[in-house]
């Protein structure tokens, strides 16, 4: 299918509205993406026609809902080319997926004396759970790989921090939510495994922008979230190898994650149910399934090509504006640009852009240590693209930035 951005925009009802009298220019998809009509309709249809709790009722609606929920798992597995749908654990978001690993692998499998290796460019979701593990008094060390001035992962530092063989788990982003940097995931997997470590990749951004292939990548854990992938909030995915799931104790206890309970004893359900305690996000799973079908119909290669065009265009346009400083200039990057304007604080700038109908995020984007690393504690403004973003919108942002600089002069 050829990529027609104007036709795609018509699939997203929210994009046709005006904000403060101006057409909406939504450049905050990195925080959460807008939803196509197909996702909205699928969720409504689920609640109107096919809704009941899953995995328990011996009646038509429950069986239909269970089927839809498990079909969503199958769709996710195909989307990321997992070897087996049981490798797909539904969580509530990436944060919960990473916390699950920090708890069940970090506390349940890792041993005192081992270390976790993260990087300076992690989102707090892939930083705080590891700080909590470090501080839990279990003798687990936390190491942080440096980021270069260009905003890339310092691979020499990664190698140095893996060298003593003490790292049990590498937990690194596949694409920075601030710098846009895409990390060399295949190389990281090879390096981690060579050092005897397992590896978790935070794919919250990457899974939206690139085709991710679990079998080709060969990682141990991969986390991403539905709402950035044009699906609903409240559902995320942890992809985890079955052999790891077998070794890991459960994260949350409750219904659906047990195979047998007496007052004295419980037996865990087999993976992935063992990690899905309680009523799962049923309607959200149906919505995520619709989102994946929507994106898959366009095709990830087409999504990627469209985004590459936007990235090149944004690089040209934003670099041209006097006073604009881009954070990070990685070679391999996706459609996320954080920048500062020399005479405006990020929040003042975001307020101005909002008046022009442009939605951007201001602040430190859940990555305070990264902003400290680059000496921009006052934060940056971030423009992030989706498959509905146009070059015209980037031109409009560039024009607004030029005028904002005059405004604050």
């Amino acid at each position: 299918m050829s990529f027609d951005v104007q036709r795609i925009r018509q699939d997203f009802p929210i994009l046709s509205q005006t904000v403060r009298g101006k057409p909406l220019v939504f450049l905050d998809s990195g925080a959460s993406a807008q939803k196509p009509r197909a996702v909205i309709d699928a969720m409504v249809r689920c609640m109107e026609e096919r809704y009941a709790n899953v995995h328990r009722g011996a009646y038509f609606l429950s069986e239909a809902a269970t089927e839809a929920y498990e079909a969503a798992r199958g769709a996710v597995a195909r989307f990321i080319n997992a070897a087996d749908p049981r490798e797909v654990i539904f969580t509530s978001n990436s944060t919960m997926a990473i916390n699950l690993v920090a708890h069940s692998w970090g506390r349940g499998v890792m041993k005192a004396g081992q270390a976790v290796l993260i990087s300076e460019m992690e989102h707090h979701a892939n930083m705080v759970p590891w700080q909590m593990l470090r501080d839990a008094g279990r003798g687990i060390e936390l190491r942080v790989a440096r980021v270069t001035d260009a905003g890339e992962l310092d691979m020499d530092d990664v190698a140095a921090k893996l060298a003593d063989g003490k790292v049990g788990l590498v937990a690194i982003t596949h694409m920075s939510n601030v710098l846009g940097t895409v990390t060399p995931a295949e190389r990281l997997v090879a390096m981690a495994h060579a050092a005897g470590a397992k590896i978790l990749l935070d794919g919250s951004q990457a899974a939206v922008h690139r085709r991710v292939d679990m079998q080709a990548l060969g990682a141990d854990f991969y986390a991403f979230t539905g709402h950035k992938l044009y699906g609903p909030t409240g559902i995320g995915v942890l992809w985890a190898r079955l052999e790891h799931q077998e070794r890991m104790p459960p994260f949350l206890g409750g219904g659906d994650m047990i195979s047998m309970v007496t007052l004295d004893r419980v037996e865990w359900a087999p993976p992935p149910a063992k990690f899905e305690a309680g009523t799962p996000p049923i309607v959200e799973a149906v919505g995520l399934h619709a989102a994946i079908d929507y994106v898959a119909a366009i095709g990830m290669p087409a999504v990627e090509a469209h985004e590459r065009g936007l990235v090149d265009h944004a690089m040209r346009r934003l670099s041209d504006i006097e006073g604009v400083a881009l954070l990070g200039r990685a070679q391999d990057r996706g459609g996320v640009f954080a920048f500062s304007l020399d005479n405006a604080h990020s929040h003042d700038l975001a307020t101005l852009l909002d008046r022009a109908g442009i939605a951007v995020r201001a602040g430190r984007h859940c990555a305070e240590p990264l902003h400290a690393r680059f000496g921009v504690e006052a934060g940056t403004v971030r423009a992030s693209f989706g498959l509905y973003t146009t070059e015209g919108e980037i031109d409009y942002l560039a024009e607004a930035l030029t005028k904002a600089r005059e405004f604050f002069a």
Binding site: H345, D348, R355, H371, A378, K403, A404
Partner: protein, 158 residues
């Protein structure tokens, strides 16, 4: 493109944002407090010098923040000078009402001159996500006034 934003970013605010008054450390301060808005990274440290009768003889601040928070802190240090602790608290209450609602119907005649000086910040009430920028300095003022000499407490924008 941004004409209607002159309500929020009036010349007084842009001026105080760029060139904040009393932007310095008071080495012999009698009261000090820190204000922190963790959401946006705004931070300021407020210094008060008290006179023999306990009134504010001098006020100064340092820190980093957006134009709104810097201008608010700057205007505050100018307006609280010479005020008693009770008057400064009263001004703080009224300013926060102004920032949140755009008006202050119960303000009365006392402190009318001071409220007029702070009026340019009233436009912030139309920007809910920015109200905290304007009120951070005033929360910090309350904290400083209520602290003991030598103690440095943290004020939050919440």
């Amino acid at each position: 493109m941004f004409d209607d934003l002159r309500d929020l970013y009036q010349e007084v605010i842009l001026d105080h944002g760029r060139k904040p008054r009393n932007f310095r450390r008071l080495e012999d301060a009698d009261r000090t407090a820190r204000g922190d808005n963790p959401m946006c990274g705004d931070r300021l440290e407020l210094f008060l010098k008290l006179g023999p009768d306990g009134s504010i003889a001098d006020a100064a601040f340092q820190g980093r923040g957006c134009a709104i928070s810097t201008a608010s802190a700057s205007l505050m240090t100018e307006t609280v000078k010479g005020k008693s602790s009770a008057e400064a608290h009263a001004l703080s209450d009224r300013f926060r009402a102004l920032a949140m609602t755009g008006t202050c119907p119960d303000c009365g005649a006392d402190l009318a001159d001071e409220m007029e000086r702070l009026q340019p910040l009233s436009g912030v009430h139309e920007f809910p996500s920015r109200v905290k920028c304007a009120t951070l300095a005033w929360h910090t003022l309350n904290t400083a006034l209520d602290s003991a000499p030598g103690e440095i407490k943290e004020a939050s924008s919440e």
